[in-house]
Symmetry: D2
Subunit: 306 residues, 4 copies
């Protein structure tokens, strides 16, 4: 499809959003950016348009990567027995459900409590810190050796991370998080601060879409089961409280981040990476979602329809 034209049509949506302000480093990003990269796994074809090579903070999209890495290291059973696959009905940083139901498991791996728990599961290995392992894995699954940690973003995360500290100590108090809280949080803050591009995320999406096999070299990077599990969880909980809305409107498993990134994986079709930093009140990229909806419609990606 004509991605350039699609960007053109969605451009005005940018004005409906605002860049994330809770972190100074994000607040300074120019909102007027929109980029996309689409990796068609059926014919190994990649195309891109707009700000597709601009680096931006991966933020919550990293939750997909750390989840995949944790499954890779510990097995799906070990991971899925410690974190649920339910929506919370509340914002991403809430602990309401766990308080109310008395459960000690985070409801899913994409709310902050769940993501922090996932990161805590990764142990130091051969002298490599949990984050360094996640960074290596990110470079591999995104096919992007250029991914690095942005020091300014990381310091901002540290500075504004009290809510996440509260969640982590809550999990610790409940006996759910068993590793060191400070290390686990540091891993989490660091993974959020990795800088990616639309192309990195399109590659990540392509691996998910292609049943776990990297389409660029036919290497299996994650198990088929891990890929299916993750796509399902992305569909149910990937877009915060709007997951249900976009499950209806777009119908493609997607995960967003407050850096303005989106990764989508249309099973057996394509991986998509999108970047546009102006967010709606819930924290999803406004122009990005508009663009993704257009692509889904045009390429018939809606898994509930086709």
């Amino acid at each position: 499809m004509d991605l350039k034209n699609a960007i053109h049509e969605c451009w005005s949506k940018i004005d409906e959003g605002h860049v994330a302000t809770y972190i100074p480093a994000l607040a300074n990003v120019n909102p007027y950016q929109l980029g996309v990269c689409l990796f068609d796994v059926t014919n190994d074809h990649k195309e891109q348009a707009g700000a597709s090579q601009v680096r931006f903070a991966v933020e919550s999209v990293s939750k997909v990567i750390s989840l995949l890495y944790a499954i890779d290291q510990l097995g799906l059973e070990a991971v899925s027995s410690q974190v649920g696959t339910r929506q919370t009905g509340f914002p991403f940083d809430t602990i309401l459900n766990m308080e109310i139901t008395g459960e000690s498991q985070p409801l899913n791996p994409f709310v902050n409590s769940g993501a922090i728990l996932i990161s805590s599961l990764i142990e130091e290995q051969d002298g490599q810190s949990p984050f360094d392992q996640i960074l290596d894995f990110s470079r591999k699954i995104c096919n992007d050796p250029g991914i690095t940690l942005d020091q300014e973003i990381y310091l901002s995360e540290l500075e504004t991370g009290d809510r996440n500290r509260s969640l982590a100590y809550y999990l610790k108090a409940r006996g759910t998080l068993n590793n060191d809280v400070t290390t686990s949080l540091d891993t989490y803050f660091r993974q959020c601060s990795m800088m990616v591009t639309c192309e990195s995320l399109a590659n990540l999406g392509a691996v998910l879409a292609n049943d776990g096999i990297a389409p660029w070299n036919s290497e299996r990077l994650i198990s088929s089961q891990a890929a299916t599990y993750t796509k399902s969880v992305m569909m149910t909980t990937g877009l915060y409280t709007e997951s249900g809305t976009y499950s209806v409107q777009i119908g493609v498993p997607t995960k967003s981040g407050v850096g303005g990134g989106l990764v989508a994986a249309a099973p057996s079709h394509c991986g998509i990476g999108i970047f546009s930093p102006a967010l709606n009140p819930v924290g999803n990229s406004v122009a990005g979602l508009a663009l993704l909806e257009m692509i889904s419609r045009e390429l018939k990606l809606d898994i509930f329809k086709y």
Copy 2:
């Protein structure tokens, strides 16, 4: 696939569940029943096995039918603007989220509050009561003129319906439900008391799978949009608090009822109706879900994988 053999393999699962007891009429059902009907819409082929012609109470599976009928009558916009597409994170009869968030909309059409609201939207027409319209529509979309209301089930629903009355008056007090409460509840109690078979539900699922067109006579019964919307909502919220779990394990849009019924719709593949009245603690058919998982795996129906 060999449905008979599949039933044989899942039979022992029955012992892990219990028939619903909150309604005397349901408590008396023989738990040792398992039936299935599969309608393949790609080659217009239908097969069945086990108790596929036994009539059972449709219960919450009727929420799919009333939702489709409401969309048919009022348009998708009117319906989706009054009820959300979010999971609640809580059991089906809760009003916690609405109380906590201060929202006045039910979170989705498959929790009781949402379903009661949907039923309240249907107005008397040409002297036909809302329920009679739903009954007619059920017979048409299930291709089953034999669907009737079971008086005993209906009286049981009336007798045990105080929680639903509480929900309905809550919606009324919030200004969300604008029609008469007693009539709306009566419609709801009646629709739950319709008696269907696996074949009825397979037909219903086939219409959903076939983009809204009845595969048995190529008539469009619901809009393409309505079919897609409903499948998406079924995936996210169709199996109570286990929706996420089965989204991962089965990957096919499904709705359950405490009568032991399941309707599933694999887009562009098939509709499936299943009946087995022994339920797990959440209220889903134990053997039914095991059978559905087996079918999904065998026929490669998982929409997150294929």
Copy 3:
């Protein structure tokens, strides 16, 4: 003390409030009214000032009366075993706590759910309806044969009572409310619609202050235990979510109603009835509470200080 002067000083507070609007009959009341009656039980002296003889809707102040009558009829044990003595931390019509904790008992007799349950406990007796018994008891304990039901208020209560219906059916569904819901609600709506004066409430307060004995004729109207219990519950939960605030500022057991009434009982000192219909956002009479605070200070009534 000079009550006339006190009214003068508190008059301007009226402008900070608004009459209740949820019921048309209350919305039409002239906000510029302030009356008080003080019954000193140590020397059997009663004085009054301002609109002390104006009749107004008793509303939630009736919860004190029905509680006392229920204890009188069933015994304190039977009543206190069915309703708690805890604050909810939430507004008066919430069911959040019960939903969250899974408890089936209302948290206290002054939230609506608790008050409806209390009213439901009163059975028809010798052909006299529960309400007629409450009305008789009100006339006796308020020493006011002029108390009658206002038909317009009652009809308004009926019309706007959906939240209360929701609460009642919720209690019924939980097995807490065992009598007929419609009758119980009707009793409740009717008791809220009784018309009282400041003097009626001062008499009621005097009985409570005087350990259960009517100071006007030395007759014991309620048990000592009932009087103490009720004063304690008034202190903890009598002023909605502001109970704690006024426990600190006034220090006298008090119950308010959205009709603008207040009844206060300073143990072994005096009963006080106040009326001023302009309410603060929580539902308490603004000028009324200011006046009560002034009286408490002047007459040294604060039970936490003296």
Copy 4:
């Protein structure tokens, strides 16, 4: 009254409780202890019986002391504007209400979040740490120079303090707690670890009962306003979720701690210190409350009755 005999009568109640187990240092305490000290401020008479000189961990009773000290240092207005006077309806360590209502203030100074906030308000002064100031103030208001920190208890508090850390970071994230989290928590953990006796607490209670003036030397230690405010808050929220129950049964402002201590202050009558480490499920001393109820009845201390 005959305190020795009262202890004898309440002794068997010990078997109904269990010592706190969440901290090893508390779990090792011998449950079979019951002591009391009563300071009658009307005639400056003090009597004691049983384990009245045994030192035990002050735990949550320290919340009374830090509250009084914070008011002393910052003024009542500054303190009461930052923390409420409402019950939560939930256990002491919950953050449910704040999450649900969106409020950023702890509901009262005796839930953990409120107490941590209070401790955070105390600033280092003349080189003296917040805790050292609280310790000095404790020795003065308890008239007990022997109060010291128990190192083992303190280390246990540190080790098991994750829930409190979660609460503190939550308050920090909400912008409510503005000082250093680690210091604030350390102050809190230390103040809980002070070792007191029944006599210390009777003296504390006597100051509260005596309008803020130490009855042993007629020195004003706290303002009259602070004394009244604190007694009121003790009555409403001093005994966790049982505050309402004991407001009814005992009718004397009381604060408990999981070390088994109780401080009670009957306005213008007496201060009472009690120690018995076996707790009921809510965390209140079983035999201690039985003894206090007996004393209240015998000495006619119930402020709602007399």
